[in-house]
């Protein structure tokens, strides 16, 4: 049951990519003041820190040697000042950096999310929501890490290293050479280990991603796992993913632990070398004790930044990978583009719809609509029938430009939909989609989804019109009752009624009902049809359903078959034609006196 393709999260690139960094500068630039401030503060911190070992040197070589108690007090005061500077500047620097990071990611997150919302439905068909979620959450968070634990401390660490090198060379260049003798070895060792550490981390990430995907799916499908007694198998599968991950983690610890121990080792060896060489120099009188002590102090501050730098490498690498993915997302261009609002348009369309030799494919050349032409006049109610996969739903998606046609054209009031501003077009066409998607909020906020400023009276009026008020009134909180994510606390029928109310509250010139009646019992369906009759007045409508009963009252019926409109006419005319429509009709009404109906699931010979 391993997935066929590797997740994109699993690809990890280089730690520095100039192209990515240049691009992200645009988001960072507005924060230049904060960044400058924290760089300045960082220098203050560093200066204050590096002054401290030098004060030790002065202390030992000066007042202590001379027995000067006042000198000690002065140096102690100097130390206190350095310390105070360091503390205040450090706090300021940390906060400035966090502020920078938060500002940058706030801006970027907003941009990414708005960009996502501008992308086509075809993009969302190709990308799982969970994967996109990580773009606006985890990926952007790892950029925040880059700022808070990154950029400036990287700069700080490098400058600090250089400063230490400079100070030591200035104090005693020979002893400095001894102190740094081992540094090349350190770089060599870390270069050798780094590749392994990186691979080990990649393994860990890849495996945790698998665990999380598996877990997410299990939670979503928990009831089925339980109803079908899949628990034992699932526990075993989970354990195998889990232990793979643990093994990868254990491997990564080996490298990680030996790496940090090694840096410490090199630091201590440097101390030993300095004692040996420095001791010799001292005996010859070429070195003071204070300088040796200062050396020891400075070197102890030298290897810390080196360790941090290698830790920073991982942060940088993760951030680059995240940036890469975020920019790839931002580079996605919607193919459904809103034209600039040029011509002045009537506030409300009159509602004429035309499909003119429309061809469409979701993928490649696999056409699901072939040369479909249809026309609906203002106020006309057109029903579209056909088997699943005949292309009915596609028609509605094309009308609101969730996708664009491959060839041909769709026109509303004689204007090509591609020439209408998207918001205008979608304001004219109200839709009830198949899945009756509701949003977390209240019943009222879901009904007023298209227009949050809607009055309570209008909301209630609309709910009454689609007979939704009946169940809403039974809820203790009424219209204020909470609707959970995806309408999880409502029945399929209730969700459907609410999605009806939502579409009606939108008061569009054109209404599209897609499969809207498939899960409602006949009684409710009849009530809804009554409501629709009232509310469809003055509206053009396309009604799509498997169940012919909902569309009998249509002015005209189009029969779709394999992506083509094969029959068209009134219900009676189509029945008389005895074509596909007649066959669909007979199948639907199996108890027809003609006896040619389909056997229903509970027909006597089945059940006895």
């Amino acid at each position: 049951m391993s997935p066929p393709a590797e997740a994109e999260e699993e690809v990890l690139g280089k730690a520095y990519d100039a192209r990515l960094v240049r691009r992200s500068l645009g988001d960072v630039a507005p924060e230049w003041r904060l960044i400058a401030l924290s760089v300045v503060l960082m220098f203050v911190v560093m200066g204050a820190q590096l002054a401290q070992p030098y004060l030790f040197k002065l202390l030992i070589d000066g007042p202590i040697l001379r027995g000067d108690r006042r000198g000690i007090t002065i140096l102690a005061l100097a130390y206190a000042v350095a310390l105070a500077f360091e503390l205040v500047a450090r706090y300021g620097q940390l906060y400035a950096m966090e502020l920078t990071g938060q500002n940058v990611i706030l801006r970027l997150r907003d941009r990414v999310f708005r960009h996502l919302l501008s992308l086509d439905s075809s993009f969302f068909d190709r990308h799982a929501v969970g994967r996109l979620m990580t773009r606006v959450t985890t990926d952007i968070e790892s950029l925040a890490d880059l700022f808070t634990s990154g950029v400036v401390s990287l700069l700080g660490d490098s400058v600090k290293l250089l400063a230490i090198v400079a100070i030591l060379l200035w104090l005693d260049w020979r002893l400095a050479c001894v102190a740094f003798a081992l540094t090349p070895l350190l770089f060599l060792l870390s270069a050798m280990l780094r590749g392994r550490i990186r691979r080990a981390y990649r393994d860990v990430r890849r495996r945790i991603a698998r665990i999380n995907a598996y877990l997410q799916e299990s939670i979503s499908g928990m009831l089925l796992l339980q109803l079908f007694r899949h628990e034992d198998v699932s526990t075993r599968e989970f354990d195998s993913l889990n232990s793979d991950h643990r093994d990868a983690e254990l491997r990564s610890i080996v490298y990680e632990s030996s790496f940090s121990a090694m840096i410490e080792l090199v630091g201590n060896v440097a101390i030993a070398l300095m004692i040996w060489y420095g001791g010799g120099q001292m005996l010859r009188g070429a070195l003071t004790l204070g300088t040796l002590v200062a050396f020891l102090e400075y070197t102890s501050r030298f290897f810390g930044p080196i360790r941090d730098l290698s830790g920073f490498y991982a942060v940088l690498q993760a951030a680059m990978a995240s940036l890469e993915r975020i920019f790839a997302l931002l580079d996605e261009r919607p193919t459904v583009i809103s034209p600039p609002a040029g011509v002045s348009l009537p506030a409300r369309a009159s509602g004429r719809i035309e499909f003119d030799r429309v061809r469409f494919a979701y993928r490649g050349n696999d056409d699901v609509l072939h040369d479909v032409s249809l026309r609906a006049d203002p106020g006309e109610r057109v029903a579209i029938v056909g088997a699943t996969g005949s292309g009915k739903t596609t028609l509605t998606r094309l009308l609101v430009r969730l996708y664009d046609v491959r060839s041909g054209a769709i026109r509303v009031d004689g204007r090509d939909v591609r020439a209408l501003p998207l918001s205008y077009l979608r304001r004219q066409v109200g839709v009830v989609l198949q899945d009756h998607f509701l949003f977390a909020g209240s019943i009222a906020s879901n009904i007023a989804f298209g227009d949050p400023s809607m009055t309570r009276e209008r909301i209630e009026e609309v709910a009454r019109a689609v007979n939704a008020s009946e169940f809403v009134d039974r809820l203790p909180a009424g219209f204020a009752a909470a609707v959970r994510e995806r309408g999880g606390n409502l029945s399929v029928g209730q969700k459907q009624l609410l999605s009806f109310a939502r579409a009606l509250a939108y008061n569009p010139a054109i209404l599209v009902l897609d499969e809207a009646t498939s899960s409602v019992d006949s009684e409710t369906e009849l009530l809804i049809q009554e409501a629709l009759e009232r509310l469809l007045a003055g509206r053009t409508s396309l009604v799509i359903a498997h169940r012919l009963s909902t569309i009998v009252g249509a002015d005209r019926i189009l029969v779709m078959h394999h992506g083509r409109i094969v029959e068209e006419g009134t219900h009676r005319a189509l029945l008389e034609k005895r074509g596909i429509y007649h066959r669909l009709y007979q199948l639907q009404f199996g108890l027809d006196r003609s006896g040619s109906g389909r056997p229903t699931i509970a027909s006597p010979e089945v059940a006895t």
Binding site: R69, L94, S257, G280, F449, P452
Partner: protein, 588 residues
């Protein structure tokens, strides 16, 4: 359904006990590590004092060599200590993750109805990381801090007891401040975590409903809503950053003040001759050695607080347990033929608001084994609820359900569910192959059986369109099946169980008429041998059932055969007449 959770600390103790060997070995390594670390400044002191006395270089060189050897040994042992303790933390997280998953598998529908997937995921992902930090770096640092203090303080006192006292004077005050701030860090980090979860939920919802958002031109509105959450998250993060910055400064200040005291007082002691120069240098080195673990203390405190918070949140999940009485029944159950009896059945969804109308009230029905019962009723009349109770999705509140005379609650849930196959209203497929999805309830089923039920459910007619036939991968990383195809896979999944009780909850709604005919023709033989509960919103579908039950507002409005009900002129007759009228309208 809630039982008092075990103490948080007890989970920590439990795992410390389980992995005690490793932790003890790790601790011993740390003892050695610290001994060696602390001996380096001592060697340093000896070397410096030797230099001060003008001893020959040979003596100094041998001390340098001693430092070298100590350092080498130190590196080796330190690596081991980390391997032991960090390794244990990884194993512990592995154990907890397995336990958590096993527990999630036992939790009932009422739990999942109230928890968002994102919430549970964040427990399993983020909280486990926090627990890992507690057992790994957290434990490592606690031991380290304890050892450094235990060994360092006596050595410092030996160098200069008064100086030690003065140098450590600021510790109690600053530590108190640190504890105070870390408590605030803990609260603020929780708040930030919650905001992040809110943020993800907002994004997830908008992206899942993207077509709705677009159709209603709500892009800007949804983006603003997301922006608000995003800003709120920023605010929480900045508050957290302030506390973190404060604690870092406090900690650094702690080390600094001690050093200051050492310079001031220690310098005088050197002049007074009570402390050697080398002693002062060693003392400063010891302070530096103490400073790191002390700075770590604030961090460790945070790690422990976050880890305990994570444990508390996980234990909230652990505190839930199945509310199904059948889950507490041990042993194997009796063989079932499938007679179902409902007696005075009332049901209100767990966690519904006060005053909500019960989903079912006073339902009494007898369904003999092997019969087909059609259940019809309006939206929200309780049809699905009734079926779910038979499959033990929710526990029965009041009244009883008997299967072959056995109380449903007395039958082990697993035993029952092997005998009740459900095709739910909303189809869920796992991202696996079609064959694996079908075999969900019987992973050991033979290929022939899978193909047989796939044929019965009419999946085989679509096989030419599927790249790898039944082995085609479905879901996120595979092909997307149509609603009808998905329902047929769900049907095949139920048929594979070959159950005495078959439940179809409006299960063929997305399947086109031709295919439905073929499915029904194939199912005749199957249905003849078992009890079938059939929910449909269409009267015509259930007309031929042995028995029809009409539900209204959770009550049985009427029941009987189709002809009885039609003769009674009740709700069923009314529904039927509506469909008749529609038909007549059409033939006008």
């Amino acid at each position: 359904m809630r039982r008092p959770g075990p103490e948080r600390v007890s989970l920590i103790l439990r795992y410390l006990r389980t992995y005690r060997r490793v932790f003890i070995l790790g601790f011993l390594c740390l003892v050695a590590t610290n001994g060696l670390t602390l001996s380096i400044p001592w060697l340093l002191k000896e070397a410096i004092d030797a230099l001060g006395r003008g001893e020959p270089l040979r003596r100094v060189a041998s001390l340098a060599l001693a430092i070298l050897l100590t350092a080498a040994l130190l590196a080796a042992i330190r690596t081991r200590s980390r391997l032991f303790i960090l390794g244990a933390s990884r194993r512990i997280v592995y154990d907890i993750r397995n336990e958590l998953y096993a527990h999630l598998l036992t939790l009932p529908a009422s739990f999942y109805a109230r928890r968002r997937t994102g919430d549970i995921m964040s427990r399993a992902v983020n909280d486990l990381l926090l627990i890992r930090s507690l057992f790994g770096p957290g434990m490592l640092s606690v031991m380290n801090i304890a050892l450094v203090y235990a060994a360092g303080l006596p050595l410092m006192a030996k160098l200069d007891a008064r100086l030690t006292l003065v140098a450590l004077l600021p510790y109690p005050f600053l530590l108190a401040g640190v504890f105070h701030v870390s408590r605030r860090i803990h609260q603020r980090s929780n708040a930030a975590q919650e905001q992040l979860a809110e943020l993800s939920n907002a994004a997830q919802e908008t992206l899942s409903g993207i077509n709705m958002v677009k159709a209603f031109v709500r892009e800007a509105g949804q983006a603003d809503r997301f922006g608000d959450r995003s800003r709120e998250y920023r605010r929480c993060s900045l508050l957290l950053a302030r506390s973190r910055g404060l604690i870092v400064s406090l900690m650094r200040g702690l080390g600094g003040l001690s050093t200051l005291a050492a310079i001031w007082v220690g310098g005088r002691h050197v002049i007074a001759g009570t402390l050697s120069k080398g002693g002062l240098v060693a003392f400063l080195s010891y302070l530096a050695l103490l400073a790191d673990p002390t700075v770590m203390m604030g961090w460790v405190l945070g790690v422990f607080q976050r880890g305990l918070g994570a444990i508390r949140r996980l234990e909230e999940i652990w505190a839930f347990e199945s509310d199904l009485p059948g889950d507490r029944v041990k042993g194997s159950g009796p063989d079932l033929r499938g007679a179902i009896t409902f007696r005075g059945l009332d049901f209100t969804y767990p966690g519904s608001d006060e005053g909500t109308r019960p989903a079912l009230s006073g339902v009494t029905l007898d369904i003999p084994a092997g019969t087909t019962v059609g259940v019809v009723g309006r939206v929200g009349s309780g049809k699905t609820t009734l079926l779910q109770l038979v499959a033990a999705v929710y526990p029965v509140d009041h009244g009883t359900i008997l299967i072959d005379g056995h109380d449903l609650g007395a039958l082990p849930t697993g035993h029952l569910r092997r005998r009740v196959a459900v095709v739910p209203q909303e189809t869920f497929l796992f991202s696996r192959t079609i064959a694996e999805n079908i075999a969900l309830g019987a992973t050991t089923a033979s290929r022939e059986r899978i193909e047989e039920v796939a044929r019965l459910a009419q999946i085989t007619r679509d096989l030419p369109d599927l790249p790898q036939g039944l082995d085609t991968f479905v879901g996120e990383r595979g092909v997307t099946l149509s609603g009808g195809q998905r329902q047929r896979v769900a049907l095949a999944r139920a048929l594979l169980l070959d159950p005495p009780i078959l439940i179809l909850d409006d299960a063929l709604s997305s399947i086109d008429a031709d295919t439905e005919d073929a499915i029904l023709a194939g199912l005749r033989g199957v249905m003849r041998r078992r009890t079938t509960l059939l929910v449909s919103h269409r009267v015509s579908t259930v007309l031929g059932a042995d028995r029809i039950v009409v539900l209204e507002d959770g009550r049985v409005a009427e029941s009987g055969t189709a002809s009885e009900l039609l003769a009674r002129n009740g709700p069923f007759a009314r529904m039927h007449r509506q469909q008749q009228i529609e038909k007549e309208l059409e033939t006008l």
